[in-house]
């Protein structure tokens, strides 16, 4: 039977069929649904880890102990997990270990678009790249087998288009079962220099063997067509090339590290002009050229952003008249916004009013940077806000600086920089926007919510106690709907000569709808525009006055509290 699955659903399906026993990761678009779907299987131990490094370490442990294991993360998550990655290539595995890195070309929801194929090369681990859901499902199975055959973790690298596009998948696979079993083997798993040096050499042998395997791997295949022009491609780019050049020869690579050098050389030598079509960096092209083969690619195909058939056609097909981009002259954009009634809104409003320097972090609340709130100065990566604030304070000595970080992000990587602030005498105020979930990726639980991915109650991390234990003496918890208290807390805490933490706690609207009645604007409104500075999707500017769309209003009352003319009142 064939069913329509997203790439992420297909990876979960394929991993389950391959008998994965332990699966873990940290939510991150476009990878999140892989674990959410694995969690549905009773026989898979699926969990959210506090961050990707921890996730990979757990999976390494379970692999060593004989359980097939999978970790899933977005591309930047692999930076966090890079430390164990480079060494697990040395130790190798017991049961198969598959690491899914979901890259985001075009930065649909990411802070950069790094090409994680280079991680495979740098860490010396084999890499597979699916081009649709069917391939995603079957390559996961291959990945487990390769991992066990060659005693090495395997990187399954996807991109947003593969993760989030749906296509048909055969779902009649039989499930493989594997009994876990742990055997001590310190020479293999304890990487003290003496052991590591041995494993380092063995790694090269394994890579040699993998290269040979890659030559004959069924996923690396030539589809012969015209011998005048041929393509080398992988991942989603394969689908675009097939779409545009149905007559051409194509060498489609599903295993892109190590590359099948003989296969590629033989192919290139039989075709007049070979074009490498790949998204982002010239990863394939550089390696192929380094063997003295003549191929082209990136001189015409952009290495910035996501590819699509239009971009490839523009680069490769001489067109009589370029399809003129009759861009509609400056249509109003439609950026994402904080929801009506979002608990973060009032905090950003007050931060702006108090002219604070705000180092920000990754989550829904990053939207606080957009006008009219416009109250964020930096956003680098998960957990960076706190270290950034410490740095700004070191450089300028100012007290008017706060770090803003979400609850899930704080657990991910905000704790160690907070320790740094205390340890090294910082006096910065750290704001934890505790909305009781991981909102941006679609409401995932984390240690602070006290519920696991499987929906089981567990210990709820106590932020107040945690930060006190770190050495923060000035800690307070405030309801972010209470604007006066928000303002007071920020003013007082930033004025202090010691580090402090303010926890603004109120659930995200995806978790709990506020019970407030909707508000409306009455005739007292004189058009002062103060409420418009909240950027609430329910409030708009109509004929010189504010207007509230009651179907959207969540009744948070923040706008009513701001209005000096009592023009915003609750609908009775």
């Amino acid at each position: 039977m064939r069913v329509l699955l997203s790439g992420n659903e297909a990876i979960a399906y394929g991993a389950h069929a391959a008998g994965v026993a332990v699966a873990t990761g940290y939510p991150g678009t476009p990878s999140t649904e892989i674990l959410e779907n694995l969690a549905k299987y009773k026989d898979v131990d699926a969990s959210w880890a506090p961050n990707e490094k921890v996730a990979l370490e757990v999976a390494i442990g379970s692999s060593i102990a004989g359980a097939r294991s999978l970790v899933a993360m977005k591309h930047v998550g692999l930076n966090v997990a890079a430390d164990p990655l480079f060494t697990v290539a040395y130790t190798g595995v017991n049961a198969g270990l598959v690491i899914v890195s979901a890259d985001d070309p075009g930065m649909h929801s990411s802070q950069n678009e790094q090409d994680n194929r280079y991680y495979a090369k740098a860490a010396k681990v084999p890499m597979l790249e699916p081009s649709d859901s069917q391939e995603a499902a079957s390559l996961v199975e291959d990945a487990f087998i390769i991992s066990e055959t060659f005693d090495i973790p395997v990187l399954l690298r996807t991109t947003t288009r593969v993760n989030h596009s749906k296509s048909l998948v055969e779902v009649d696979l039989e499930q493989t079962k594997r009994e876990p079993g742990y055997k001590k083997n310190a020479e293999k798993y304890v990487m003290i220099p003496a052991n590591a040096r041995v494993r380092r050499r063995l790694l090269e042998d394994r890579l040699k063997a993998l290269e040979e395997f890659s030559e004959g791997f069924s996923g690396n295949k030539i589809e012969w067509g015209s011998r005048e022009v041929g393509f080398i491609t992988s991942g989603i780019s394969y689908q675009y090339v097939k779409e545009l050049f149905p007559e051409a020869s194509i060498l489609k690579l599903a295993m892109t590290y190590p590359l099948p050098r003989m296969l590629i050389t033989g192919y290139v030598n039989q075709i007049e002009k070979v074009i490498v079509v790949e998204e982002l960096e010239p990863y394939l092209e550089e390696q192929i050229k380094s063997w003295g083969l003549s191929v082209s690619g990136k001189e015409s195909i952009p290495s910035i952003g996501e590819l699509n058939p239009d971009i490839i056609a523009d680069a490769l097909i001489p067109r009589e008249e370029a399809i003129e981009n009759s861009k509609q002259s400056a249509l109003p954009g439609r950026p994402p916004m904080l929801c009506a009634g979002c608990p973060h809104r009032g905090v950003f409003y007050e931060l702006r009013r108090l002219k604070m320097v705000v180092t920000g972090d990754i989550g829904c609340y990053t939207l606080g940077v957009l006008p009219p709130l416009g109250s964020m100065d930096t956003c680098i990566c998960m957990g960076a806000s706190i270290g950034n604030a410490m740095g700004v304070q070191k450089a300028t000595g100012t007290k008017d600086i706060v770090a803003v970080i979400g609850d899930s992000t704080f657990v991910h990587s905000g704790i160690t920089p907070l320790i740094d602030i205390v340890y090294n005498g910082g006096i910065t105020t750290v704001i934890i926007l505790d909305n009781r979930t991981t909102a941006m990726t679609g409401r995932q639980d984390h240690p602070g919510t006290g519920r696991t991915l499987k929906g089981i109650d567990s210990h709820m991390l106590d932020f107040e106690k945690l930060v006190k234990a770190i050495g923060i003496n000035s800690v307070r918890t405030v309801d972010p709907y209470d604007l006066k208290a928000v303002r007071k807390a920020i003013k007082e805490e930033t004025a202090k000569d010691e580090p402090s933490v303010i926890i603004f706690r109120r659930a995200c609207l995806l978790v709990e709808k506020p019970k407030g009645q909707p508000y409306t604007v009455n005739e007292k409104c004189d058009g002062c525009k103060v409420c418009l500075r909240l950027g609430c999707p329910a409030i708009s500017w109509v004929n010189g006055r504010a207007e509230i769309d009651i179907s959207q209003c969540a009744g948070c009352e923040i706008c009513a509290k701001l209005c000096k003319r009592d023009a915003i009142t609750v609908i009775k």
């Binding site: 064939r2 069913v3 329509l4 678009t29 476009p30 649909h108 929801s109 649709d132 947003t160 288009r161 989030h164 596009s165 749906k166 296509s167 048909l168 989603i236 689908q239 675009y240 097939k242 779409e243 545009l244 149905p246 699509n308 058939p309 239009d310 056609a313 399809i323 981009n325 009759s326 509609q328 249509l331 109003p332 954009g333 439609r334 950026p335 994402p336 916004m337 904080l338 929801c339 829904c364 939207l367 957009l370 006008p371 009219p372 941006m440 990726t441 679609g442 525009k529 418009l532 500075r533 950027g535 999707p537 409030i539 708009s540 500017w541």
Partner: protein, 199 residues
């Protein structure tokens, strides 16, 4: 080039039920033995941003992404988004537009204006627009939230699948309590377009 592949672009604003509509449609097409691919991007777009979903079907589909000027149909859940994506429609393609207007942030805060007479602008581009007040019709059907299914019904008029073929998948995907309202919403959408088409 892949000849029999049809391209449907669904556009609108996060929260309008676009992905559900596209899901139902894709399932129906799979049920009719087509090869189907569906591309969507979610993430930031959920917070009231512009959303697009692409559905392609035929005997063999490669790219999940539709090229500019290749869409056979655009189903626009919102007027400004119809205009934003109009260039994806192929000459002679059909654009079905919900009359709903959702102001984006720059318009809400008075920094920009919502374009007037979008229908006129589309016609100027030579596009035949089919305009439908799906929100009103959905209310008539018994559920405000079924506007997406009204629009789906409109589009279904053009697709090579019998009307009854849609019900099973609507039943499977909408909340149980709203099944009847959604079926009715589908019927209304379907009915309206058969009328428009025959005028």
């Amino acid at each position: 080039m892949s000849s029999d592949v049809k391209n449907i672009l669904i556009v609108g604003v996060g929260g309008q039920g676009i992905i559900l509509a596209a899901d139902i449609m894709s399932q129906v097409l799979v049920g009719a033995e087509y090869d189907v691919k569906m591309a969507e991007i979610h993430g930031m777009s959920q917070r009231g941003g512009s959303v697009n979903t692409m559905v392609r079907f035929g005997s063999r589909v490669y790219s999940p992404v539709i090229e500019k000027r290749k869409a056979d149909f655009i189903l626009a859940f919102e007027q400004l988004e119809a205009l934003r994506w109009a260039d994806y429609l192929k000459p002679g393609g059909v654009l079905i537009m919900n009359t709903e207007k959702i102001k984006p942030l720059p318009v809400l805060i008075g920094n920009d204006d919502y374009p007037e007479d979008i229908e006129g602008m589309l016609r100027q581009k030579g596009i035949e627009v089919i305009k439908i007040d799906a929100n009103k019709l959905a209310e008539e059907a018994g559920s405000k939230k079924a506007a997406n299914v009204v629009l789906l019904g409109c589009l279904a008029t053009y697709l090579p699948i019998k009307k009854e073929g849609w019900y099973t998948f609507i039943e499977r995907r909408v909340p149980p309590k709203t099944i009847e309202a959604n079926k009715k919403a589908f019927d209304i959408g379907y009915g309206i377009l058969t009328e428009v088409a025959s005028v």
